[in-house]
């Protein structure tokens, strides 16, 4: 083992992202009508320091320790999610949901944040224990269960955004464990059908492709037939049912899936976010000088829509810088993952990467209306203590894996 800070590049990147993020939280508070947001950057800085300490602590814990702890933490997480459903409460825009663990009127935290970590750990454990990657849908029941239980509990809160993150983690880790891309496509097919259902032609083309895949996959005939049936349901029946719903019912269903969105106002919010970003131009309006933000046109500018502030004030240059930092972080995580000295650690690294990635793509995409609006934060940027802590804990785990990892040659000996 080497002395000093393990994987300095990773830490530097995460550090840069955090400082960038705190600067943006500060800017988010600089509005013409001063609100509580003005002081949040201080709180966020304190959380940042705490988070870095926690990361260092995490980097001291060996991967074996994590391996040993994983089942207990997983069970604890499930228990907390159930507890949250029983006595939880909402906050902010999602006041009607139950995502916060509230005890005696105190908001303790969001167990879902913890769940993102523990699911990665547990899934890594389950997938690492197999000699070969799953080759049929049936063989996937075990990993599916690991993700499925907390996923159901979170969707019951309900919290669509976090639910999407879990699905992202699931697919990414299956991919990393070597599951055939055709199988992945088959698993994803119902969702793809649902997305493509708006256009008969697109869906038709997709359906033909699916039939081809099932043909290649013919050893598992029954599963194939079931999949085709599910695709027909999601691609044909669901849209028809959806059309039959009155607009207010559709809205109600959407709000049910994610109460953090106010179906009426969300359209306005996205437009204002797009206007903020688009009006930034090449170089932006200058740090703290975004008019859309200053005048409160950008909604939730310190949390969900903080990237709109980046776009407005720092322009395309600032956006590119932020995206480049994220890309660097992810490429570093891939490097760590591929150099880990055992499958378990490698899968953890990739799972953590996947979790971040889904957050970034969904959050950043949402500000430009490329993704549906869900209340999902941007790692290192969005204001929020537990998320900052969770992100840096991930950094700490990655640091540890990186330290334990070796050169490519050593891996071959396993």
């Amino acid at each position: 083992m080497t002395k000093g800070i393990p994987d300095l590049p990773l830490v530097m990147i995460a550090f840069a992202l955090s400082v960038f993020g705190i600067a943006m939280v500060y800017s988010a508070g600089q509005t013409d009508t001063v609100t509580f947001v003005a002081h949040l950057w201080k709180t966020q800085s304190v959380w940042f320091i705490i988070a870095v300490c926690a990361a260092y602590a995490a980097s001291r814990a060996s991967v074996r320790l994590l391996d040993w702890l994983t089942p207990f933490v997983y069970v604890l997480t499930i228990f907390m999610l159930i507890l949250t459903l029983a006595i939880g409460g909402g906050a902010g825009t999602a006041a009607s949901s139950k995502s916060w663990l509230v005890i005696g009127g105190m908001r303790i935290g969001q167990p879902a944040e913890l769940a993102k970590l523990t699911v990665v750990l547990m899934l890594a454990r389950v997938l690492a224990n197999r000699r070969e990657p799953p080759e049929s849908l049936l063989e996937l029941w075990h990993p599916a269960l690991v993700v499925g239980i907390p996923w159901v509990l979170i969707m019951l809160q309900p919290d669509l955004g976090t639910g999407i993150v879990f699905i992202g983690i699931f697919f990414a880790m299956l991919f990393w464990s070597g599951v055939n891309w055709r199988l992945l496509l088959l698993i994803a097919s119902p969702a793809i059908s649902l997305v493509l259902a708006f256009s008969t032609r697109l869906w038709g083309a997709w359906f033909l492709l699916l039939l081809g895949l099932v043909w290649l996959y013919r050893p598992y005939l029954i599963e194939g037939i079931v999949l085709v049936c599910i695709n027909v349901v999601t691609g044909v029946v669901a849209p028809i049912l959806w059309e039959k719903l009155a607009p207010y019912q559709q809205k109600r269903l959407l709000v049910f899936l994610d109460p953090s969105i106010d179906a009426k106002a969300s359209g306005y919010h996205v437009i204002q976010s797009q206007v903020a970003i688009g009006s930034g131009g090449w170089f932006g309006k200058g740090f703290t000088l975004g008019t859309q933000k200053r005048l409160n046109f950008v909604p939730e500018q310190q949390t969900d829509f903080i990237f709109a502030v980046v776009g407005e004030e720092l322009g395309f240059i600032g956006v590119t810088l932020a995206l480049t930092l994220f890309l660097a972080l992810f490429l570093r995580a891939i490097r760590i993952s591929s150099r880990a000295n055992d499958p378990y650690a490698s899968l953890i690294a990739f799972g953590l990467l996947a979790s971040w990635l889904v957050h970034v793509i969904e959050n950043v995409g949402m500000t430009l209306n490329l993704m549906p609006i869900t209340g999902i934060p941007l790692p290192f940027f969005s204001y929020g203590g537990s998320f900052m802590l969770a992100s840096w804990l991930s950094v700490g785990v990655l640091m540890r894996i990186s330290r334990e990892g070796r050169g490519r040659g050593d891996l071959a000996s396993i």
Partner: protein
Amino acid sequence: MSYHPNDVSHRASVARLLLTVGFVALASAFFRAQVLRNKEYLAQAEQNRFREVPLAAPRGIIYDRNGRIIAENLPGYAVSLLSPSADSLRTAMRRLSNIIPITDDQVEAAVRRWRKNPTRPAVILPDAPFDVVAVLEERRVENPSLIIQSTPKRYYPDGPAVASFVGYTGEVTERELADSTHADYKPGQQIGKGGLERSYEAQLRGVEGVRYVEVDARGRVVRDAGARAERAPQAAKPLRTNIDMDLQQFVVSLLGDSLRAGVVAIDPNDGAVLALHSAPTFDPNRFVGGIPADYWRELNTDARRPLYNKVIQGRYPPASTWKLATSAMAMEAGLVQLDDHMSQPCTGGYRYGRYFRCWNKKGHGDINLRQAIEQSCDVYFYQVGLKLGLSRIVAGGLKLKMRERSGVDLPNETQPQFPPDAQNYFNERYGARGWVPGSVSLNLSIGQGENAQTLINMARFYTALATDGKAARPEIVTRNPERVQIMNLTDVQMNGLRLAMAGVVSSRGTANSARVEGITVAGKTGTAQNPPNLDHAWFMGFAPAEKPRIVVGVFVEYGEHGYVAARIATKVMARYLKGATAPVVTTE
């Protein structure tokens, strides 16, 4: 899992590739929004945060012929509120009503203005007094959506004296906005409502400027001045009129508030209106920025009808002032000349089917046309009317433009009443057998019957008598003077007529008591029968008779006799011709 290094490195490559492609795609989406569509979004961001506050342009100043101000602009204050909804506007105004007086009507008016144009600040007090503005400025911080701005306010220094022709301004109404001719008007703007203010609206209006205030998402003003370059309003060019304010004031003082009368003075050579007044009058200054309800009620319930313009709207039988029209027709037709006598001398009446009276029961005896004009002998003109015959009287009246508006540059001029033809009109009115052309001719020849003229149109006719037979279109503002030949008489004939009219204002004539020293006034009195009420008094004339420079028409409702009007008219002429310094000496 399969953890063979080759597999891992392969998957890592795939992951790197996918990741890079994904981020490049994401970055290009930002490039599209931020660089390619930057202008569009920038415009939207600007639109978000700026609210236009209109800056009213000062209306054109209206001058009289000597450069004296008839209408000007005083600094005033308008108070507006920016509001995202009608309800919040109501709430905000209710809150304001704790510190300044606001009536429910004002609230509703503001809400109507807001509905018409929600992005504009809704004007809540179009003309706020200074003390109200002071209170609001003090509490500005508590009401961040409030916009106070100075705005020009129309003012008429001579107020009631100019009301009859200058009109007034007011906020454009919803009905006016619905009219396509007002397509470029916006709610809350001022518009000329009557008189010159309306006739010359396009010229007087100026170009509205705009100022921007910066607002936040809740419509609160966060920056007022200098938020964005403003466009200064462009003041309109001044409007020069032909009105002689000295004469106008003199006319107003003559009529006072007790008479119900109209006076118009015109330069016969170019139609320039020197004075125009209808009494009783009103104060147009009180109309500006909304007419107070009680004042409006008072004006509308006043039996003397101050809002009814007796010069351009009032229609009355022209009575004996018409005898000059009859004379001109007969002379032009070659039927009667100034020295001709009629077959029957006046014995106080004339029998035609029934007995037609002369105003003078004693009779005028055997007289010629000149004397008939001087003494306004009805019997003489009955016979002229019979000689002319109905069709020539009707045709002659139409040629004299007695069925047309004078064309004065004021809105709402009434069209005079005169038969459009000699046959069908009467058939329709009385039935084919219900009338006798002769009797109709008799009535028409002395200015009674189916004939009702406005004072201004009679004045136009007299401009032709005063000159070479060309009638001048009355013009308060000089457009392009238009004179139309309506009489074809020789100079000798014209001079003869004028001499006869000079006789009217002489010891021999009916306006004997209206003479003024040093000026030869030519004219004609008229006493319009108005049973069962008192008769109306007319006088139409001009001076100096030799080379007329002013035509004056006076109409006094219930004035009883023409000389009442004549006395006013001759004083007006004297004032104009001799100036304010020379004492007007009448021989009353």
